[in-house]
Amino acid sequence: MPFRQINSKLVEARVAPGGRLFSQRGAMIAYTGDVRFTPNWQGGQGGLGSMLGRRVAGEATPLMTVDGQGTVLFGHGGHHVEVVELSGDTLCVEADRLLAFDGTLEQGTLFLGSDGGVMGLVRGQVTGQGLFTTTLKGSGAVAVMAHGGVIRLPVTPDRPVHVDPQAYVAHHGDVRNKLSTALGWREMVGRGSGEGFQLELSGNGAVYVQASEEKL
């Protein structure tokens, strides 16, 4: 377990020789020991192909590689930080919400159109994810940033969860998401409730929502 939560906005990460972390550039608060921070112009793992993929997808957030031996404190922009533990499943999260993550996790880009076709694209627009989102797969921990506190809502097959697309942070597990609309004549005449779009998550896993509707 490389991350230890110090307070709601600060996590401590332990790096050891042979292991490495990725973190958002400029998110280091303090460190002890012999730790190197190398700007990672590929924006994460993989070769040139992965880099180009991320650039095209607009998921190329400035990252740095953290390696060496010691402990590092991470925090960024006064945002709340939530540590998500992954054990073999996949986390879907926007790249700019990633504060730091284990180097052992496999980083990928997901085209939202491949998950629900045109509705997937519409969903990406409404949630502010755009057309692509970042996936992290494997065993390890991820520190995710959110505006306001983070709530973890479990998703079970018999209990789908509806969340406000703007408050959506991330999800992991075998979860399908679908944009459900509740648009009626009220929305058409501009007297809507402001909750016309909801994200419906069903399957088996968990979704993280933030206590705010503000994007990072």
């Binding site: 307070n7 600060l10 280091m28 608060i29 303090a30 921070f37 190398t38 404190l73 925090g75 006064g78």
Partner: protein
Amino acid sequence: MSTAPEVLDARTLPADDNVNAYAFCVDLNGRWFLQKGKMIAYYGRIDFTGVGHGHLDALVAGSFHSPLHAADWVVAEGTGKMLLADRAFDVNSYDLDDGNLTVRSGNLLAFEPSLSLKQSIIPGFLTLIGTGKFIAASNGAVHFVEPPVRVDPQALVGWADCPSPCHHYDHAYLQGVWGGIRALTGIGGASGEEHQFEFVGDGTVLIQSTEQLLAEQDTGAVPQQPGVPGGGTGGGSGRAPQLPGPFGGLNQLFGG
């Protein structure tokens, strides 16, 4: 769960303690130094006199040794309860017992005159020496670490009892073949973490939970808001004016 806000008055306000994470109540009986604009309310009879004028020359000579910051400080004098807060930062009080502590000048809210304020060698920091209580703000909770440690300059709140820090520049990634290409072409960018303050020796380092420093706000000036006489229209400045206190977030909510 909803609880009605607790109503406090002159008797029920805490004495020299936090009201909540963002406000501190000083039980004033005598004199305190405080930074301009950090007082949000008071009960009782309190006079506020700017440092450098008036009848406080002896006090200033005894415990205020920073002419550079004199314009930012006032002396509160009298009896009563005084509430201090700053930009919705977390506020905490610290007790010094014949010690010394250096703190970022913008983060220091107030201190007892039994302490003596001096300018630190590090620009932008103030050193308090002596015995007494002072109040400091931080963006997010304060975390204490012990040297040896290297700290992001913006995340540093202050340090106590340890030697002044030195600069540490880290260019390890500019070595090797890729480092050479990076250094020659500038491709790949910087990690943003090349420069730190390095602390060694015995003591305690205070850091805040984020490297973000909120912009200092003018006090005493007319706010640049539409509808405020003399304040102009406020348009065209780009940044919407921040509402004071807990309503500061409203601007963000409404896309300001």
